[in-house]
């Protein structure tokens, strides 16, 4: 058995955290080959070759793969699929875009957001906003799946895998990239941060979201948000934590002005320590918080920031 793992490459750099967590998830299934595809991908490939547990790295460096459009990347994976029993990727938005396409082209099912690998055919995954965990067994000859990175630790450093080139596949030429709107930030990345501070509708405005950001910066934390906060324009879309946003499991999660809807809990309830700050003592978030503080966020959060 052998595994082809799509490494997460953004602008030529490897997202080591997501990729190394995925390596740990699949390494029991066979030799792991990491595929690094991008307009520039050599340095990402080098970084991937050092992850413990990686047997081989394939680099597909071609302008075709520069913006991770689904069609060419899926065609590339399909062209390589013959050699592998398992084809996997960390469950990033890129992989969620690409892997179902790969599966359909291979006429197999896809399994999204796998949270545990039981054996070569059997996997666990959360369903119903994490209110149930399903154990599923696949009858397909090839298994195609994405991995919920929050459920795995990252593989360590110290590998020395061989790196070789993969030939580009024919471009289906169905879509073109136009532009990216990506905010640069010095803060840790949400899904790999050790600490996360999230704000909800209770924060009230884009301007007051600064209260959340100041606490986050004091803690060296990433900033998250509820859907309500994103929909209201207080925070950008890529900060959304939840069933349909990002899934996080940091050591510390601070929820401020968030009521605790099931869709939000689905994205953060595996955090080690949860703190909730809310003025409503009946808010459901308190049912899962380790430490709850009932109070107005506009006074308590600045006080907390100051006292840390």
């Amino acid at each position: 058995m052998a595994v082809l793992l799509l490494g997460e490459v953004t602008n030529g750099e490897l997202n080591r955290d997501a990729t190394a967590k995925a390596v740990n998830a699949v390494k029991a299934l066979g030799d792991v080959t990491v595929l690094c595809a991008g307009a520039s991908a050599k340095s990402a490939a080098e970084a991937a070759s050092k992850i413990t547990g990686v047997a081989k790295v394939l680099v597909a460096e071609n302008a075709l793969y520069g913006h991770r459009l689904a069609e060419p990347t899926a065609a590339l994976i399909v062209s390589l699929a013959g050699d592998y029993s398992h084809i996997a990727a960390p469950a990033t938005t890129d992989a969620k875009n690409i892997m179902p396409r790969v599966a359909a082209l291979l006429d197999v099912m896809v399994l999204s957001d796998v949270s545990a690998v039981i054996d070569a055919d059997t996997f666990e995954r959360p369903v119903y906003a994490g209110n149930a965990i399903q154990t599923v067994k696949s009858r397909d000859a090839k298994k195609v799946f994405t991995i919920r990175t929050a459920s795995f630790d990252a593989a360590g450093e110290g590998g020395a895998a061989s790196v070789s080139d993969a030939a580009a596949a024919t471009d289906p030429a169905l879509s073109v990239w136009v532009s990216d709107e990506v905010a640069a930030s010095d803060r840790p990345e949400l899904t790999s941060a050790k600490r996360v501070v999230s704000g909800g509708r209770g924060v009230g405005s884009k301007e007051s979201f600064e209260i959340i950001e100041k606490l986050a910066d004091k803690l060296g934390a990433a900033v998250g948000a509820s859907r309500a906060a994103v929909d209201s324009g207080y925070a950008p879309n890529d900060w959304q934590v939840g069933q349909t946003g990002k899934v996080v499991a940091p050591e510390l999660y601070v929820a401020v002005g968030i009521s605790g809807a099931i869709q939000h809990l689905a994205g953060m309830k595996d955090s080690k320590v949860i703190v909730a700050i809310n003025k409503d003592e009946e808010a459901p978030i308190f049912q899962i918080a380790d430490f709850g503080l009932v109070g107005d966020l506009f006074s308590t959060v600045p006080e907390l920031t100051e006292k840390l």
């Binding site: 396409r101 599966a103 896809v110 399903q134 154990t135 599923v136 532009s179 905010a183 320590v273 709850g292």
Partner: protein, 252 residues
């Protein structure tokens, strides 16, 4: 141009799913069911394209049990022109896998001659986030998943997508598949007169066999269990107490 919108009947998003005591699945008996929220957004987008004169006809399709008729009537009341129900299961607790669903949707798209499919990004029951991408692969079409803005012009769709780092805009040649993310639009409520009118709109019933699709599953659900529970902790009386508790817990 015709647009096809697949709509799924799922557990209402306000209901907390309960795992059956015998581990055989989630209890769906006497549970409120609704249209998957992402599909309401997809229907809304299709109707807006029609109102803007970009498409001529909006067709809603659902694959599942007979009761999915209600879901299709909702789509018709919102403004879809007609609906197709592909009856693929008898028991409400049988779900059809995305690959089979995608094969049926692809076959319907071909049979109806649609040039655009707008699906939801994810069904909130199984959270697979797969069907739209699979449909486009099966049809050999381009895909624009997780859309937060769609502009159709000159045989192309310019789509802004919600991605991990922020937003990405791509242009995809039609025919294509788009999947709707949360912030694409705010779906309308169906008015009472439109609900009455929807009862007279055409709703055809079909079977997977009529589209030549085998719906037998590739996956076997071995068991379903509750996630590890989390107990409520304590309430602290002040910010000072919170700080000292966090220190004790070793997280700051």
């Amino acid at each position: 141009m015709k647009v096809l919108v697949p709509v799924k009947r799922v557990i209402d998003y306000n209901v907390k799913a309960r795992v059956k005591a015998d581990g055989s699945g989630v209890d769906l008996a006497n549970v409120k069911m609704s249209m998957n929220p992402f599909d309401e957004i997809a229907v809304e987008e299709a109707i807006r394209l029609k109102e803007a004169g970009k498409v001529e006809e909006v067709i809603a399709v659902s694959i599942g049990v007979k009761q999915a008729q209600e879901t299709l009537r909702t789509a018709l009341a919102m403004g879809a022109d007609r609906a197709i129900l592909v009856v693929a299961a008898e028991d409400v607790s049988t779900d059809i896998e995305p690959l089979a669903v995608a094969k049926i949707i692809a076959a319907v798209a071909k049979a109806e001659g649609t040039e655009l499919v707008i699906a939801g990004k994810q069904a909130i029951d199984n959270d697979m986030n797969a069907t739209g991408q699979m449909v486009s692969a099966l049809l050999g079409w381009g895909q624009a998943a997780f859309a937060s803005k769609v502009e159709i012009d000159g045989g192309k769709a310019k789509v802004t997508r919600e991605v991990d780092g922020g937003l990405q805009t791509i242009e995809v040649t039609l025919p294509a598949v788009i999947t709707a993310d949360l912030r694409l639009n705010e779906p309308r409520y169906a008015s009472l007169p439109n609900i009455m009118k929807a009862k007279k709109k055409p709703l055809d019933e079909k079977t997977p066999a009529e589209y030549g699709v085998d719906v037998s599953p590739r996956l076997e659900i071995v068991s379903t269990r509750e996630p590890e529970g989390r107990k409520a902790g304590i309430k602290v009386g002040s910010v000072d107490e919170l700080v000292s508790k966090l220190k004790e817990a070793g997280v700051i």
